[in-house]
Symmetry: C2
Subunit: 160 residues, 2 copies
């Protein structure tokens, strides 16, 4: 998280896996900083990043099953279950057993959680603005394109 960079390596030698040369390390560290910036801002709304990712998925589409939510948020099912339990306790979601398939539980937002969207999305927008400050439009596009390329590489692997 607070990695001190020495002299930046000049060339992209993927065998030299000092942290500052490791794409995986840099991506993880960047993710942790994003999560911290988000956590700091969500605190006053009594929302943790753990809950945030589920809210965000449900704002996009309600009625998802627990399994589908796990897939979209990228969490294991036990993590999903405990995040959803917390959201239910805070009156943010309702878990509804699917009448056609009793093993499936579908997740719906409460009005309270639906209303929070307009309050909370600006928080995420602000974090992204802070993070990408000073990047030109071209650089931002390139950043997304490179992340997208890396995601594709790792996803192909995933399908093996």
């Amino acid at each position: 998280m607070n990695l001190t960079f020495k002299q930046p390596a000049k060339s992209a030698d993927t065998n030299d896996l000092r942290p500052e040369n490791s794409a995986g390390y840099l991506v993880r560290d960047t993710h942790l900083l994003f999560a911290k910036a988000l956590r700091d801002r969500l605190q006053s709304h009594q929302i943790t990043p753990g809950q945030w990712y589920f809210l965000r998925a449900l704002w996009d589409e309600e009625g998802l099953s627990q399994r589908e939510l796990s897939r979209r948020v990228g969490t294991t099912e036990p993590t999903t279950v405990s995040a959803l339990r917390l959201l239910a306790r805070n009156g943010m979601i309702e878990r509804v057993r699917n009448p056609k398939d009793r093993r499936t539980i579908n997740i719906f937002l409460t009005d309270k959680a639906r209303d929070m969207r307009s309050e909370l999305m600006p928080v995420a927008i602000e974090v992204n603005k802070v993070a990408t400050a000073g990047l030109s439009d071209d650089e931002f596009d390139q950043f997304r394109a490179l992340l997208q390329k890396v995601r594709e590489n790792l996803s192909m692997e995933d399908a093996d």
Copy 2:
């Protein structure tokens, strides 16, 4: 994790926070794919990504305190304590109470864990190679530079 991309947005409008436009979202998703690729490969070595990050920090420098390890790995202290407990149970680390400051516990690797470095580092190198396949040297350098810029932006914020 398995985000389906619609039409990619053309311009870098940071107010348009569809997932494919959110740097934070893309970084998190990329991180999750890295962690999965690592987890898949570490499984046969009986190491979880949660343990991996601590091993990696300790391969760089032994004798760190629990607090310092938490800072370097970017985890909360409870997470650190439970990861270290598991590593101790597997005979990978020794926790030594600091003779000069009884409240501090310093963490050292066992010979077994030290020896695993040469076995496990190639795993991380391979994951990075898979992830950055098809990127030119320039693109790889730019990827690191952009991540670095975003990290700096978020770290400055951190210091507020």
